[in-house]
Amino acid sequence: MKRYAPYIIVVLLALLPFSGLSTYMMHIIILMIMWSVIGMAWNLLGGYCGQVSFGHAAFFGVGAYTAGILYFKLGISAWWGIPLSVVVLALEALVIGFICLRLRGPFFALATLAMGEVLRVTAENLRDFTQGTLGILIKERTWVEKTWYYYIILAIAVLTYIVVKKIIESKLGYYFVAIREDQDAAESLGINTTLYKTIALVISAVLTGLAGAFYTNYMGYIDPEVVFALHDISIITIMIVMVGGVATYWGPVVGAGIMVVLAEWIRSLPRIGTAHQTLFGVLLILIIIFLPNGVVGDFSKIKRALGFGRKV
């Protein structure tokens, strides 16, 4: 049964647009899937390879701008941004990796954080190329209906899931985890840590960039403050993975559910007003304290707390 679970879930998800959900719900679900993609991508680098990036907005934003600039400067459909962003992001990741990957732990985290900010300010200042803070507005999005957007992001998500799973089960996966657990030990076991960290970064960046390119097509509007946001992109990404479950396949998906769907729900609770952020913040703090490996990672703890699984 468990073996078929992913397939069943995919089939159910594929049928979802026919369930008569409102476009509002579809929007929330599309956002959730998009964040799952970013989360899974981050998880590959951060969760498995142990390189905690605080600058994934750098990749999301470049993906988004790849699509946006194609549309705006060359008049090509922004959908071409999705294939093209693969190349652009791979190059970007190589450059950023070259600069940041020689650093370890908190230094790497801070360097990537700075990278994201540098790109944001650069995008704001290169007005001729990016339109600066004016942003890029896509006059006519391809579809009004949500269905196709939903299938496209679902396809990207399934692809991401498969890529991550295949990688983790292969030699690369062993190497990534070895690097996370002990970089010196890994190096002394013949693992070219720089190479494999770069590989993890490139794949993670490309997948994140896909989500960014999708975002441009879906939202129809981007500006540097939105797509290169430190808090609203980079940090939310980490939260999604940490809350959901670091180094688990489904953690980012669950995390995205919590960070998007639950946040939306708390936000629209009646009579709570602006206190929703406090409530949500407290929830995050509690999760981090009591479930340090996230909901999926510490699932057994939840089961125990709720009185299930005592037989085990």
């Binding site: 409102s22 476009t23 509002y24 719900m25 579809m26 929007h27 929330i28 956002l31 300010v121 704001e124 200042n125 007005r127 600066g132 803070t133 004016l134 942003g135 507005l137 896509i138 006059k139 999005r141 009004v144 939202m219 129809g220 509007y221 500006d223 403050e225 939105v226 609203d232 769907v261 639950l262 939306e264 729900w265 936000r267 629209s268 609770l269 007003g273 602006t274 929703h276 952020q277 699932f299 939840i302 089961k303 709720l306 299930f308």
Partner: protein, 397 residues
């Protein structure tokens, strides 16, 4: 775990479904997206309070076509994708036939895109980016002038009173600041001023003295600044500190036109002029009333954002009352024919100069005189005679 998840899903879904349809029974409910948390919350708050004042007045006067009005505010946090979620919810779940609200341009753009696609009219209330109403959108209307038009009043004041030969422009690096500065560059060309310096900064900066020293060395006749919120006050304070004497210090609305400017800049704000869309003392019907009501409740006068929000509800009321039916299409037609004077000024949606459904209006010039914002230009709206030339810093006491 499964039970818990199931429970959560049920609660979540039901909380979405229970929401009533917008026009059920004898009340009509409007959901308004606004940034109520985050860095833009200040303006969300001003607008929320202003909507509430309009709401009370309208309900006291019998509502809209006999129906009581109810407002629900949703926090967009200043994030476009959440604004979009709210817009989708308004259209789909709440079945509301018209949308209005939101503060920033980026969020307004996100909503405008949805509204146009779903053919639901959207009234932009404060988003000032030029391109919102330059997209050939049919369903998007804008009450406030676009940022390039904020300074029309200031331009004529400069031309007729100050007659400067040089100008230095400092602006924040946002879309608002950049466009405002570009507008002034064009104006400068029109009235024969030389732009000796044009510099941008990231809003929230602590220290402007380096850039101001540079301005000082160029000795411009006019220093024009487009800044939001407190940057404006810091700029003037530091100008005073450096004793930079120009013939005129001028602000491009926003941060210079709010009461906090005088509070924070204190004596450094004296004689500073600013473009604005509105002032509490302006002679539009109801403007003063609204301003006083706001002040008595919240302690200070509202900025023009408040007047925009306050009047927006009246524009919506007017359109709903004239609309043949409360379908989106009929409301759109009614909005298109809007021609009323609100507390914010005359509202009429026109297609010209590359804009569609855009309200064009005279903008005002305020000057801080004796620690108060006074309207000084155009003369027909003036509440006090302008002070010009202004004294040098050294001579002020």
């Amino acid at each position: 775990m499964k039970r818990l998840v199931l429970l959560m899903v049920i609660v979540f879904l039901s909380s979405l479904l229970i929401t009533t349809v917008a026009t059920a029974g004898d009340t009509v409910t409007f959901t308004i997206p606004l940034p109520l948390t985050g860095s833009k919350a200040k303006f969300g708050e001003i607008e929320k309070r202003s909507y509430e004042i309009a709401l009370e007045e309208i309900n006291a006067a019998g509502g809209i076509k006999g129906k009581k009005v109810k407002l629900v505010f949703e926090d967009s946090q200043g994030k476009p994708e959440i604004s979009r979620a709210i817009a989708e919810k308004i259209i789909d779940v709440k079945k509301q036939p018209v949308i209005f609200g939101e503060y920033s341009s980026s969020c307004s753009k996100a909503i405008a895109a949805v509204a146009e696609e779903r053919k639901v009219p959207y009234l932009v209330v404060t988003g000032a980016a030029d391109n919102i109403t330059q997209q050939n959108y049919r369903y998007v209307f804008r009450m406030n002038p676009s940022v390039s038009y904020y300074t029309s009043g200031l331009r004529s004041f400069l031309k007729e009173v100050v007659k400067p030969r040089t100008i230095a422009i400092i602006h924040e690096s946002t879309d608002f600041g950049t466009k405002g500065a570009e507008g002034m560059v064009k104006d400068a060309k029109r009235i024969g001023m030389k732009v000796v310096l044009k510099e941008k900064y990231e809003s929230g900066a602590v220290d402007f003295k380096p850039i101001l020293s540079k301005v000082k060395s160029k000795r411009p006749d006019v220093i024009y600044m487009v800044s939001y919120v407190m940057d404006a006050a810091l700029l003037m304070r530091q100008i005073k500190e450096l004793r930079i004497d120009a013939k005129l210090f001028a602000g491009g609305a926003a941060g210079f036109a709010i009461p906090e400017f005088i509070e924070n800049a204190k004596d450094a704000s004296e004689y500073v002029v600013t473009a604005t869309l509105w002032s509490p003392m302006v002679a539009y019907p109801g403007a003063k009333d609204f301003a006083e009501k706001y002040k008595s409740r919240h302690g200070k006068y509202p900025s023009y954002h408040g007047a925009e929000a306050y009047s927006a509800l009246y524009v919506i009321k007017d359109a709903l009352e004239r609309a043949k039916s409360w379908s989106s299409e009929d409301i759109r037609k009614a909005l298109k024919e809007t021609n009323i004077v609100t507390a914010f000024g005359p509202i009429k949606f026109e297609d010209r100069e590359g804009y569609q459904n855009q309200n064009f209006m005279d903008t005002l010039v305020l000057q801080v005189i004796d620690g108060k914002h006074e309207t000084i230009w155009p003369l027909k709206y003036a509440t006090r005679k302008y002070v010009y030339p202004i004294p040098r810093w050294r001579d002020r006491r």
